[in-house]
């Protein structure tokens, strides 16, 4: 925990000091940017798995759990406390009595049961169904074989009992954008897509499709004294260059930076002191398909890891907007092993390993890659000469982003380059290397290791978090040694903010998504914002 807190504290230096120096101030308008596209797909956030809709969720909705960026873990949100049974399967939640929906309805256990059933309803085909599947009886409900989810039991209006399928930490699946709680007294569900009603700190005011969503302070929000802001304009700005101009012109209060902007902002007075950085929970990698003959041999995969100078690529191409990866789990993971060294850049060792594996003369392979600047074709082009030096010829196979997923999940590749989720839950992240996970799910490299499986299954049953993390740490090290992928980097997300904005946090799950009820703006903001 100390390590996590230290990391979080280091990464949020500028923000934290600002907050302590000035003291929270109420009022004002925040102009926040949603950078992942030119529109919101829907305001019915239960129906959308996209990051873009999380901006709306943070303002308007609440889930049973939420992510605490400072503690780096999920925490109870809509319950004051919970009792957990001895076997760890049954959680009894004592719900907040002061939580009220924007339509005036107080939160009850019925709302949670209604919401989870709506999310899991097979007719809806909502993306959050897989998260609800951790509740006992949900699989049958999702398959249309049961009328109710047997693991959901209302004790009384303010008490809910949930039985899970295993002794998991339910915070991870139930803090998601797609598992938020809706009121059960709205007759026409289709209205959620245009007029969202939630438990969050802000009430929906207006949506101009393709332009912005406006929310305003909810006076009956359950956290006393919050939110500080009167209003938030969540504006859609997909273009980096346009966002840069708007941020410099003080039209927007925050901006997510790409590598080039990150480098430029670091060198400019007035900008460099207001950058918030965090190691996000994504691992950029090149996945190897073991069906391709050379990649069956782990020495070949290890040789590629030794042959590429990842830190050099991170410095030159990614402009240091990433942390070199040692293994799969990222720096911010509680199961990250800081003592395990990354593969050293050592072309001679790579050549020796290739010779041992019978590939002294090298071989040729194809990398399916999207155009992404940080984990796509430009990176493949950068490794090309490095691998050439050890005799391996690489050919990029460019595809569009949406086609990359299809190619990988249908096992139609020799190698692919991608950025994949590797946290925040290490148990869930390492599921992608468990041999019982389907290739089309997330075991993209068809990884199978009895040693790994043994540790992973033990971790699944372990209820002591420290012991569980230790098991997962060992399992992660096995993955690193087996090198089913080239471990490239962990994303460093960077947010620039105006000096008058306070309360931003280093959210390792997605830096662009911030707890709006914590944010406040000081006296130095432009008049139009105060």
């Amino acid at each position: 925990m100390l390590k996590k807190l230290t990391l979080a504290a280091m990464l949020s230096l500028s923000v934290a000091t600002g907050a302590l120096a000035a003291g929270e101030r109420s009022g004002g308008t925040l102009v926040f940017t949603a950078p992942y596209g030119s529109s919101f797909a829907t305001l019915d956030v239960q129906a959308s798995p996209n990051t873009q809709e999380e901006f709306i969720t943070q303002a308007i909705h609440r889930g049973l759990y939420s992510w605490n960026s400072i503690e780096n873990k999920p925490v109870l949100e809509l319950a004051d406390s919970e009792d957990v049974s001895e076997d760890g399967l049954t959680h009894t939640y004592h719900l907040r009595k002061n939580a009220v929906f924007h339509n005036g309805k107080p939160l009850t256990a019925d709302d949670i049961i209604y919401s989870y059933k709506r999310i899991a309803n097979p007719k809806n085909a909502f993306p959050g169904a897989s998260f609800i599947a951790v509740i006992k009886g949900a699989e049958e409900f999702i398959a249309g074989k049961a009328e109710e989810i047997s693991g959901l039991k209302k004790i009384d209006d303010n008490t809910l009992e949930i039985t899970y399928t295993g002794p998991i930490n339910p915070g991870f699946p139930l803090m998601q954008n797609t598992t938020v709680i809706y009121p059960s007294n709205v007759e026409d569900e289709s209205t959620f897509a245009k007029n969202p009603v939630g438990l969050g700190a802000f009430v929906f005011k207006e949506h101009v499709p393709g332009s912005q969503v406006v929310v305003e302070k909810f006076d009956k929000y359950y956290e006393e004294g919050k939110p500080y802001l009167d209003r938030i304009n969540i504006v859609l700005m997909a273009e980096d260059a346009a966002r840069d101009v708007a941020f410099r012109n003080k039209e927007i209060d925050v901006s997510i930076l790409g590598p080039t902007q990150y480098q430029a902002y670091q060198g400019e007075e007035g900008l460099k002191d207001h950058l918030l950085e965090v190691a996000e929970v994504y691992t950029r990698n090149i996945g190897f398909n073991p069906a391709f003959e050379p990649f069956k041999d782990k020495r070949v995969r290890q040789a590629i890891n030794h042959a590429i100078n990842a830190p050099l690529i991170i410095e030159r191409l990614v402009k240091n907007k990433a942390y070199p990866a040692s293994g799969w789990l990222p720096l911010s993971s509680p199961a990250f092993d800081k003592d395990k060294a990354a593969y050293a850049f050592d072309p001679e060792k790579a050549k020796a390993l290739l010779a041992e594996a019978g590939y002294a003369d090298g071989f040729e392979f194809e990398v399916t890659a999207s155009p992404n600047e940080s984990w796509g074709v430009p990176i493949v082009e950068a490794i090309l000469p490095m691998l050439k030096k050890v005799g391996i010829t690489v050919k990029p196979k460019p595809v569009e982003s949406s086609a990359l997923g299809d190619a990988v999940t249908s096992n139609n590749f020799q190698a692919f380059i991608w950025s994949n989720l590797s946290g925040p839950d290490p148990l869930n992240a390492l599921r992608c290397y468990y041999s019982k996970t389907a290739q089309s799910a997330c075991n993209y490299t068809s990884y199978a290791s009895p040693d790994f499986d043994k540790l992973y299954e033990a971790a699944q049953q372990e209820r002591d978090p420290a012991k569980q993390n230790d098991l997962l740490r060992q399992a992660n090290n096995i993955v690193q040694d087996d090198a089913p992928v080239w471990f490239f980097n962990y994303n460093k997300a960077v947010m620039a903010h105006q000096p008058w904005v306070h309360g931003l946090v280093p959210n390792a799950t997605e830096l662009a998504v911030q707890p709006y009820d914590e944010i406040w703006i000081d006296e130095n903001a432009p008049d139009a914002r105060k």
Binding site: A125, G210, S211, A241, S402, L421
Partner: protein, 311 residues
């Protein structure tokens, strides 16, 4: 005139049908699916069950021919389908955005007309003058300058340096928000109009009937107003029609850059995530817009130049 009008309108139908079929075929063969696009950014693991549920819900696991028949049947009933992403009728999504797109296209065209035509006229009346040279250099620059880059320059100058205008967004729909995207979008048609007008007017000025008019003792102003302007009008109307028709399509880049909520940005987003019904619907609307404008231009021709009607 009625027969001519009907014939031109009927000609639109086969074009729309061919375009609709092409769009269907193209998006049936390009790789990538909506379900796969949901985890394309790698921010969540692939979920085969969800993919199967979505493909079933949207009928994507049905045979191509069956989907084609559904598509054509729906289209014949003016049903553009339902968006995979928003699960709303495509026509509603387009309606939400069409106003902003039209606003932008009309503003850009008005800007191009008001500035481009007089400049072209004046340049032609004083060939070789400073004004002519400057206008033509400006026109060539306007035609060759990438709109994205020009937009950034405008943002930098008028928003960041001079602080006169907002750099992005629709705001509350105010005129101030419209200026930068409209001017950026209007520069290409402006340049084209200036060049075309100049060429058209020069052509007319060298015609025999202009010399005759001068020899009859008509004043310069009268010659320009009664003979030059009217005869150059056909060429100007053609250019205006072609440009105005294609402006909504051209606005894709501008809308994305200025975060303008038109159908261009809707199209770009929808292509990226393979929201096929929206892509099909949006392209059809853009094509239909182009055809309708061109039909209108043909009808205007007939009104201003009786020779065309006779042809």
């Amino acid at each position: 005139m009625l027969r001519f009008t009907l014939r031109r309108i009927l000609q639109v139908i086969p074009t729309v049908v061919v375009v609709a079929l092409l769009i269907f075929v193209i998006f049936s063969v390009v790789p990538g699916t909506f379900a796969a696009s949901l985890f394309a950014d790698g921010k969540r693991a692939a979920d085969p069950q969800m993919i199967a549920r979505l493909n079933e819900e949207f009928g994507l696991n049905k045979p191509l021919m069956e989907r084609f028949v559904t598509y054509v049947t729906d289209l014949a009933q003016f049903d553009l389908g339902t968006s995979f992403r928003t699960r709303q009728p495509v026509i509603d999504l387009i309606n939400d955005r069409m106003g902003a797109s039209l606003q932008l296209a009309i503003a850009a065209m008005v800007f191009a007309l008001v500035v481009g035509v007089p400049l072209g006229f004046l340049a032609a009346l004083r060939p070789g003058s400073v004004l002519d040279t400057v206008t033509m250099i400006g026109a060539v620059s306007g035609l060759s300058m990438p709109q994205f880059w020009l937009g950034l320059l405008m943002m930098y100058l008028f928003a960041l340096q001079l602080n006169w205008l907002p750099s992005f967004g629709y705001g509350d729909g105010s005129f101030r928000n419209l200026i930068l995207p409209a001017v950026t979008l209007g520069v290409t048609p402006l340049a084209l109009l200036a060049r075309t007008t100049r060429a058209g007017v020069l052509d007319v000025l060298n015609a025999d009937f202009i010399r005759t008019a001068h020899s009859k003792g008509m004043s310069e102003m009268k010659v320009v107003r009664w003979h030059v302007a009217r005869n150059a009008l056909v060429l100007i109307v053609t250019t205006v029609g072609l440009q105005f028709g294609s402006l909504i399509g051209q606005a894709v880049v501008i809308e994305k850059l200025f975060a303008w909520p038109g159908i261009g940005s809707l199209l770009v987003d929808s292509v990226a995530i393979r929201d096929i019904p929206v892509v099909q619907g949006t392209i059809l609307v853009i094509v239909l817009w182009f055809l309708l404008i061109n039909t209108a231009v043909d009808l205007i021709y007939a009104a201003i130049d009786p020779r065309i009607k006779q042809e």
